[in-house]
Structures are given as structure tokens and as C-alpha cells.
Amino acid sequence: MSFATLQQRVNTTALKRLGSGTNITLGGVPVLGDFLAPYAQADVGQFGMATTEPVLVVPDAAAVGVLVDATLVVVDGTTYTVAAPPEPDGFGLTRLVLELAA
């Protein structure tokens, strides 16, 4: 088994077992992924504004064709847009930074 195949198998298993479940679509297509939205602080003004930094981690193949400010992601009924260029981590997974969609 090649390393790439082993890596893909590990990533898929990890997302299935530890990911955010199956209620995620990327560009209208259901995907396996891990969604997280940790606390963030917007650095505006002297003391900033509390907010979150929503991120979706998906296999590299799922992120192919993603368009910034155009591709929609829906997680448990909440719609986001992909806000920045995809960030492959070099280990078979890609991080997509999201913004809430109007």
C-alpha cells in the first residue's frame, strides 16, 4: 500500500469517526468533513469585537473547484461562503475558512 493511499484511508476514517457528522454540503454536494467555529476576536478598535472563525476541514479532493466568495457551504442548516483560498495542509486535508452568508 502506498503512503498516499494509507494517508487517505487514515484521513477518511478520522473524519468519519471524529468529524462533524454527515449534515455538511460543499457546493451543494454532501461531504465528509470536520466543522469548527472557535471563538475569535476581531482586532478593530481598542478592544475588538467578539466573533467566531468558522472553518471546514475536508479531504483535498472535495476542495477541488472551490471558488472564493462563491462556493456555499451548509452546515446543519447554516449557510456560509468560502471566504479565502483553500489551505491544503500537505497531509491530504484542506482547510476552508468560511464566512456567514447573507
Partner: protein, 144 residues
């Protein structure tokens, strides 16, 4: 009796909260981030106060100029936040300039500077920092 600095902030906050308030949340000297449930907020604080004495006589009043900072925070989803913060800037500025004595507390209130910064996370945020110079007079022996 409160000091000049406190009086300026109190008067500015009161002006901005007067019905109709410029926004739902007007704070004085806030030291924490604006909550996620708040779309707009205004924070008023006084900075440096400098005095100029026109006379060497100790019984003559001092003219003080206090730097009054008014931060206008806004967040939005979808469109860029400059339009939202712009509307808040307009409301705040118009309210403070409508009475530059702030109810008789000051000699004058003069706009000096506006800085705006933006950032994006889940939503789009902006803060416009308006700086005014508040002129007021006090006796040599008191900071009130």
C-alpha cells in the same frame, strides 16, 4: 463633584443615549470586546487632557483641552461593513455636533480625526474611532 475627564465622558454618553439613542449600546470606557450578540456599539472614553494657562496668577482659570475618543463598532453579514459603520459615524457625529457644549459642560467640542479599521471572521466587523478635542475651563485649584 467629578473631575473634568469624568464630566466630559458623562456628558458625551448622555448626548449619545438621548432619545433616540444613536444605537442600543453606548458604553463609557469599555475594556472588553463587544459581544457577538451586539451588532453596533459606541464606546466613549477620555484620553489625555492638556492645560494652558494664559496667566501666571494662581487665581486665574486654566483652559483644558481633553481628547475625547468615540469608537463606533459595527458588524454585518454579507455586504462590506463600511456602509454600516458609516451610518453610525454619521449619527454619532451629528448628535455630538448638535450641541458642542454638551449641555453646558464644555466651551467647545471640535472634531479632530477619524480612523477606521476592518476585519473579517464569521462576520465582517469595523470600528471607526472619532477623536474630538473638548475645551473646558477650571480654576487653578480644582480639576472639576
Amino acid at each position: 463633584m467629578s473631575t473634568l475627564l469624568a464630566q466630559v465622558v458623562t456628558a458625551a454618553v448622555a448626548a449619545l443615549q438621548a432619545t433616540p439613542a444613536v444605537c442600543l449600546q453606548v458604553d463609557r470606557i469599555r475594556r472588553r470586546a463587544v459581544a457577538t450578540t451586539t451588532d453596533q456599539a459606541v464606546v466613549v472614553r477620555a484620553g489625555r487632557a492638556a492645560s494652558s494657562s494664559e496667566s501666571a496668577f494662581s487665581d486665574h482659570p486654566l483652559l483644558w483641552v481633553t481628547e475625547l475618543t468615540v469608537e463606533c463598532y459595527a458588524r454585518t453579514i454579507g455586504p462590506e461593513p463600511d456602509a454600516v459603520v458609516d451610518a453610525l459615524i454619521e449619527s454619532v457625529y451629528a448628535r455630538l455636533m448638535s450641541d458642542t457644549t454638551l449641555g453646558g459642560v464644555l466651551i467647545s467640542l471640535e472634531p479632530r480625526q477619524v480612523d477606521i479599521d476592518y476585519e473579517s471572521h464569521a462576520d465582517k466587523t469595523a470600528c471607526a474611532t472619532l477623536v474630538f478635542h473638548a475645551s473646558h475651563r477650571a480654576s487653578h485649584g480644582s480639576f472639576s
